[in-house]
Amino acid sequence: MTLDVLYFAWVRERIGLPRETLETQAATVADLVAELSAREERYAAAFADTSALRVAVDQALTDFDAPLTDAREVAFFPPMTGG
């Protein structure tokens, strides 16, 4: 499956890029996180504590155990600080 993966705020800074397109067989968000973390130290650092992160699949907030079936876009970011 081809997936657009987006990073925001300090996740973007730590990983060093705002978005990338991946080929992956990850079944869930957690699988994708494990796959990315195994890839390079900067990913492992960014995903070290997923309780400090939020995830959106196809622009809707969800959990790390959410499935990626039919997903096209996954975004990782810290808790939001709007308003």
């Binding site: 300090w10 959106a56 622009q59 975004a75 808790p79 939001m80 308003g83």
Partner: protein, 148 residues
């Protein structure tokens, strides 16, 4: 326009007036305006607000729709900026109008609570000493519980 996502400054006075003028049958109008405040040390140079294009617009619409579904409002508006802001500049505003003030107040607080913690914005403060992302506050996450 009931939801606006802007990089440029907006005119608080004009927006307030236009919203008030558009209400018919409303008895009370509540507005909340967020302002860039200086850092504790008084050295804030600017605030950078990052957002998630596409998801942001959708989140703002969803939050507004949820307020309209929950209270009998004659109107509800959200404006939020992104990009570079200076101390004293207006970050965002919400406005609500209803026949009874309790509904307008509750809806405005609801909009703010969801904007704070469910709309994809991230603030970074830049001072002479460097830059730091603003931490989410536990109290903001806790504030959502009263609406569930």
């Amino acid at each position: 326009m009931t939801v606006k996502l802007l990089s440029a400054p907006f005119d608080l006075a004009a927006e307030t007036d236009a919203f008030a003028a558009a209400q018919t049958g409303a008895g009370g109008i509540v507005t909340f305006t967020g302002v860039v405040r200086d850092a504790e040390t008084g050295t804030l140079e600017r605030m950078e607000i990052e957002h998630y294009p596409g998801m942001t617009e959708r989140a703002l619409q969803d939050i507004r729709d949820a307020a309209l579904a929950r209270w009998p409002l004659s109107g509800a508006m959200i404006i939020h900026r992104f990009g570079t802001l200076r101390p004293g500049e207006t970050i965002m505003m919400v406005a609500t109008a209803s026949r009874h003030r309790a509904d307008a107040f509750a809806a405005a607080e609801f909009l703010m609570d969801y904007l704070k913690s469910r709309a994809p914005f991230w603030k970074k403060e830049v001072t002479g000493q460097g830059a730091a992302w603003v931490d989410a506050r536990d109290v903001d996450e806790a504030a959502l519980e009263r609406w569930q």
